[in-house]
Amino acid sequence: MDYTPQELMVAAAAREIKDGEVVFVGMRLPLIAFVVAKRTHAPTAVGYFECGIVRETPSPELLYTMADPPNVVGAAWATQLPYLMGLMASGWVDVGFIGGAQVDKHGNLNTSYIGSFKAPDVRLPGSGGAADIASLARRLLIIMAHERRRFVEQVDYITSPGYGEGGEWRQMVGLPRGGPSAIITTLGILRFDERGEAYLASYHPFTTVDEVRANTGWALNVAPDVHPTPPPTEEELRIIREYDPHGFWTR
């Protein structure tokens, strides 16, 4: 295999961004997915970075964090966090990216507490902007490592809402729109059925449906047309490797 799982994930994530869309760019791999999308099929996509940055061009250098100086130079707006979040709350953000420590079959994410929040086994960092992106973006893309302990029947704590208990849950709790569109994992891509339950849409070329199932903590549904995820193209790989030459995020 001449690419890493991370590189495939970045390419897959980039393909989820449509041209002209406003993207709430998350930390780590989405930073690079936005760059790949901009340089391939989505040249007019606009990136929101919650620290207070809007970009219409990729940052000139690899970002370790979204507030790194290369992300500010040439930005199309440098502003205050609540303004960007407020625009998202009003429906201006088409798609947002987040990761998580735990995800469940309804796409709910936990980045706060493993175990009971009253006496947790692990205290994770918390929401950051993830809860907001999951609540308010028109659609949500989740990127995370596919491990059985992370893909659980039900998350211990909902930091970022997916489809809750499924069905009309989002409308019922009052969320204005949105919900997960895909989970891009180290093993495959999951999408969601109309009841808001995740199913396997494609598995990465270096794995199998069975392996994906074995790494999933619930009885995973599989699409009738499940197929291998298209590998990153040469152009995508070139852009990823130019942008992250030492593979800080992608190796």
Partner: protein, 306 residues
């Protein structure tokens, strides 16, 4: 009024034990590490820390035992991973238990904005259906009184910090301060706070600041102290001055996995240096030099004349 003083004086005079302190308000940049380290050196106790995501600094203050309560959206190490001291405090009560009020970045900004507006709360539809209201009494599940159906809404209670510490690029001795780049929730916090401490890379003439009043971050009459502390945000970046020292974050992450490791790190970089000048000396001139701005990208001026 000349409000210039050392960081030691500013922390002594304006951040008492038990204070609520907003800091690290730009998220990953302009983090007032020098001020945070001075809080540790002065043995400050029972603080409430207020911030959006905190990249490493909250973890240090928690590990050093300064903190009783954290109101924040995220406490960790952005490029390296989890926050070990934060974990130990919550999971094991080490060095002592802390209270955590879980915010999202948006709700944290709304809590400060509400205080800035003199409003008791701001309603929002973010974090509906999440568990955050279960671990934060300042996020109140309610219904929108303007709708007949009473649609669900979260009321974000106003949070007024006792003091906001802002690291800025330039300021004058009266407290007029210019900050540029991503602002995060700095404006909201500075407006909300009862007092503002400005830590500046450079203290310059008043005329420089007043030449561009739109860039001033908060009215000077709210500023109680102005500290000139070049390099005071290291290892976080300062636009126009120096870049992020990524290695520090990774080294900190590695070394602080155990309480002993954290203590050794703290001795080396905080307790063992009297001030930021000594800290930068320990860092080494060559390393510090490597982080400095390599090329300029000046703003095109605007004309305020008439």
């Amino acid at each position: 009024m000349n409000k210039r003083m050392t960081l030691r004086e500013a922390v002594e005079q304006f951040v008492p034990d038990g204070a609520s302190v907003a800091l690290g308000l730009c998220l990953e940049s302009l983090i007032p590490f020098a001020a945070g380290h001075e809080l540790i050196r002065q043995g400050r106790r029972h603080l409430t820390l207020i911030g959006p995501i905190s990249d490493m600094l909250f973890d240090q203050l928690i590990g050093a035992g300064c903190v009783d309560c954290v109101m924040a959206a995220w406490v960790g190490n952005v490029s390296a991973g989890l926050a070990h001291c934060f974990r130990r405090a919550v999971e094991q009560g080490l060095p002592h238990p802390i209270e955590v009020r879980d915010h999202s970045n948006f709700t944290m900004s709304l809590a400060l904005l509400a205080a800035a507006l003199g409003a008791p709360f701001i309603p929002t539809r973010t974090v509906l259906g999440t568990d955050l209201p279960n671990t934060n009494p300042d996020l109140i599940e309610s219904t929108n009184p303007l709708t007949e159906a009473g649609e669900p809404i979260i009321l974000v209670r106003a949070v007024q910090p006792d003091v906001a510490i802002l690291h800025v690029q330039r300021a004058d001795e009266e407290g007029h301060a210019h900050m540029w780049g991503n602002l995060g929730i700095s404006v909201e916090a500075a407006l909300a706070a009862k007092a503002v401490i400005v830590v500046a890379e450079e203290v310059v003439e008043r005329d420089v600041l007043l030449s561009d009043p739109n860039r001033i971050i908060v009215p000077a009459h709210k500023v109680v102290a102005v500290v000139e502390e070049p390099g005071g945000a290291h290892p976080s970046p300062v636009q126009g001055y120096y870049g992020r020292d990524h290695d520090v974050y990774h080294e900190y992450h590695r070394r602080t996995r155990t309480p002993e490791g954290f203590q050794a790190w703290l001795e080396e970089w905080v307790l063992g240096v009297p001030d930021r000048t000594a800290y930068l000396a320990r860092l080494g001139a060559e390393r510090w030099q490597r982080l400095q701005r390599r090329r300029s990208a000046p703003s095109v001026p605007v004309d305020y004349g008439y």
